[in-house]
C-alpha cells in the first residue's frame, strides 16, 4: 500500500473529523448539562452556513469572519428559543424524550423556513481560497480543510476555557455535577442553562460554516449532519469537551484509513460497523469508566 495515499487520506480524514467535532461540541454540552437532546442543533448549524453564504455572495464577507459574526446572532436567537421552547420541557418527567420530540419539530420548522428563504437549490461556499491547497512535499492540505480544522480547534478551545476558566463556566459545571448544591450556592440554574444552550448553538454556527466549506448543502442537509453529531458525541462521551475533540480525531482516522485501504464502497459500512463494535465494548464513550 502506498504511503502517500495512506497519509494523504489520514490528513483529510482527521481534518474533516475535527470539523464534525466542532459541530458536535455544543450538542454534547446541552446533552450533558441539561439532558436536552437538541435535534435541531445541526439545523442551527445549517442556518449559520446559509447566513455566511449570503454574506459571502452579497457582501463578499469571508466565511471565517461570518463564523465570528454569526456567533452572537445565534446566541441571541438561541436565548429566545430557550426561553420560549426549551425551558418548559425541562420540567417534563423525561427531559431527554420530551426535548427530542420538541426539537425534532423545531428542526422541521427551521428546515422549511430555510427552504422558503434560500430555496431548495444546493449551495456551495466558495471563498477565493476554497479550492486551493497548501502543498508540503507530496502532501496536500486543502484550504477548506485547514480553515475548518483551525476553526474547530479555536471553537473547541473556546468552549473548554469558558467552562474551565470563567465564573459562569464554572457555575455551569457545578450546576451540571450537583444541581442542588449549586443552587444552594446561589447559582441561577435558569440563567446558566440558557447561557449553556445559547453557547452551544453559537458553536453550531461555526461548525455548520466549516462543514459548508467542505460539501455542498441544502435545506435538508442537517439530517445527515445530525448523524455525525450522534456518533462523535457518543464516542467522545456525553458532555466531555476534550472527548469530543478526540472523537473527531478517531472517527477521522477510521474514515481516512478505510478510504486508503478499502474499496470505497465499504468505507461507510466499515465506519458504522466499527462504531457499533466500539460502542459495544466501550459503552460509555472512550474516556469514561462506568456510568
Amino acid at each position: 500500500m502506498d504511503a502517500v495515499l495512506v497519509i494523504q487520506s489520514l490528513i483529510s480524514g482527521i481534518m474533516i473529523g475535527m470539523v464534525y467535532a466542532l459541530l458536535s461540541v455544543g450538542f454534547s454540552l446541552t446533552w450533558g448539562v441539561m439532558h436536552v437532546i437538541h435535534i435541531s442543533h445541526a439545523a442551527f448549524g445549517l442556518l449559520g452556513a446559509y447566513l455566511a453564504y449570503s454574506l459571502l455572495t452579497i457582501y463578499g464577507i469571508d466565511p471565517v469572519v461570518s463564523a465570528a459574526a454569526s456567533a452572537p446572532l445565534l446566541f441571541i436567537l438561541a436565548c429566545g428559543v430557550y426561553r420560549l421552547l426549551i425551558k418548559p420541557v425541562t420540567k417534563a418527567k423525561e427531559v431527554i424524550v420530551a426535548s427530542m420530540i420538541l426539537t425534532f419539530g423545531l428542526a422541521i420548522i427551521l428546515e422549511n423556513i430555510m427552504a422558503l428563504i434560500w430555496k431548495a437549490d444546493p449551495r456551495i461556499m466558495t471563498p477565493a481560497y476554497a479550492s486551493g491547497a497548501l502543498i508540503l512535499g507530496p502532501f496536500y492540505f486543502q484550504h477548506p480543510h485547514l480553515v475548518g480544522f483551525a476553526l474547530s480547534i479555536a471553537g473547541i478551545a473556546a468552549v473548554y476555557f469558558f467552562l474551565k476558566k470563567t465564573y459562569t463556566g464554572m457555575a455551569v459545571r457545578a450546576a451540571w455535577q450537583q444541581p442542588e448544591a449549586a443552587q444552594l450556592y446561589g447559582v441561577n440554574l435558569y440563567r446558566i442553562s440558557m447561557i449553556t444552550f445559547a453557547l452551544a448553538v453559537s458553536t453550531a454556527g461555526a461548525g455548520g460554516i466549516s462543514l459548508a466549506l467542505l460539501n455542498s448543502f441544502e435545506p435538508h442537509s442537517h439530517n445527515l449532519w445530525l448523524i455525525y453529531l450522534f456518533l462523535v458525541v457518543i464516542v467522545g462521551g456525553v458532555g466531555d469537551i476534550v472527548g469530543t475533540a478526540l472523537a473527531g480525531l478517531i472517527i477521522g482516522t477510521i474514515t481516512g484509513l478505510s478510504m486508503a485501504f478499502l474499496p470505497f464502497q465499504w468505507v461507510n459500512l466499515v465506519t458504522f460497523g466499527f462504531l457499533m463494535v466500539f460502542l459495544i465494548f466501550r459503552p460509555h464513550g472512550l474516556f469514561k469508566q462506568g456510568a
Partner: protein, 312 residues
Amino acid sequence: MKKAPLIAAAIVVVMLAAFPFLSPEVYYLSFMFSVFMYVILASSWNLIGGYAGYLSFGHAAFFGIGAFATAKMAALFELPPVLTILAAIPAGAIAALVAIVIGYPCLKIRGPYFAVVTLCFAFVVDLAVKNIEWLGGAEGIWMRIMDVQEKLSRSIMYEVMLILMVATLAVAWWVGRSRLGAGLRAVRADEEVAETMAIPTANIKIQAFVLSAFFPGVAGGLFAYYLTYIHPDVVFSINISILIVLMAMFGGGGTWLGPIIGAVILTMVNEGLSTFARAEIARIIYGTLFIVVTIFMPDGILHFFLKRNRGR
C-alpha cells in the same frame, strides 16, 4: 367493568374489517393500510422502547429486513402473490433472528448509547444490502403484480395488515399485563434494582426486543408487496426509524394505547396537511404540532389526559 374496553376494541376491529366491503376508493384502503402499518411499527417499538426504556433508533432495519427478505424469497422461489404475502411471516422471523444476534450484545448498553448503537446498526444493514448483490443490491427488487382487480388486491392487503395489527396489539396488550411487562417496567424504572429483585433482565430484554423486531419485519414484507418495487433507501430510511420513536413517544411511551394514538394522529395530520396546505407551510405546521404538544403535554398525549382525569 373490565369487559367494556374489550368489547369496544372488538367493535372497532369488526368495523375496520368491514370497511372494504363498503367498496371505498382504493386510496382510502391504501391510506388505512399505512395507518395500520405505523400503528404496528410504533406499538412493537414500544415493547422495547416504551416499556423497557431502551430507545431503539434503528427499527427501520427490521422493517427493511422483512421487506427485502420477502422480496428476495418471492424472486428466489418465484412465488405467486398469495404465497408472497405469506412469505412476510418467515421474513418477520428472519428479522427476529437478526434481533437476537444484535440484541444480545447491544442490550447490555444503556440509555443514549443504546440509541446510537441501534442507529449504527440500521446503517450497517442498509449499506450491507446495497453492497451485497445477493441481499438485494443497490438496484432494488421488483415484485409481481397481483393479477386481480385493483380494489380487490388493495382490500386483501388492507385486511392482511389489519390482522397483523390486531395480532401486534394483542401481543402488546398481553405483554403489558404479563410478568414480562412488569419486568420491563422495572428495568425502565431502575435496572440495578430490577436485577437485585431477581428479575432476569437480560433475558426479558431480549424477549421484548425480538418481539419488537418480528412484527415490523412482517409489516415490512407486506409493505414491499404493497409497493411492488423496493429499494434500500425506501425501507431502511432513517426517517422511518425516527418517526416510529416519535409516534410512540408523542402518544405516550410505555402504555398500550399511547403508540396507537401517536401513530394514528401523526399519520393523519401529515396526510391531511399535504392535502390542504402548500408544501413548506404544511411541513412548518407539522413541526409546530410537535412543539405545541410537547410544551403542553410533555409526557405524551395519553399521560396528559390520564393525569387530568385523575385530577378530577
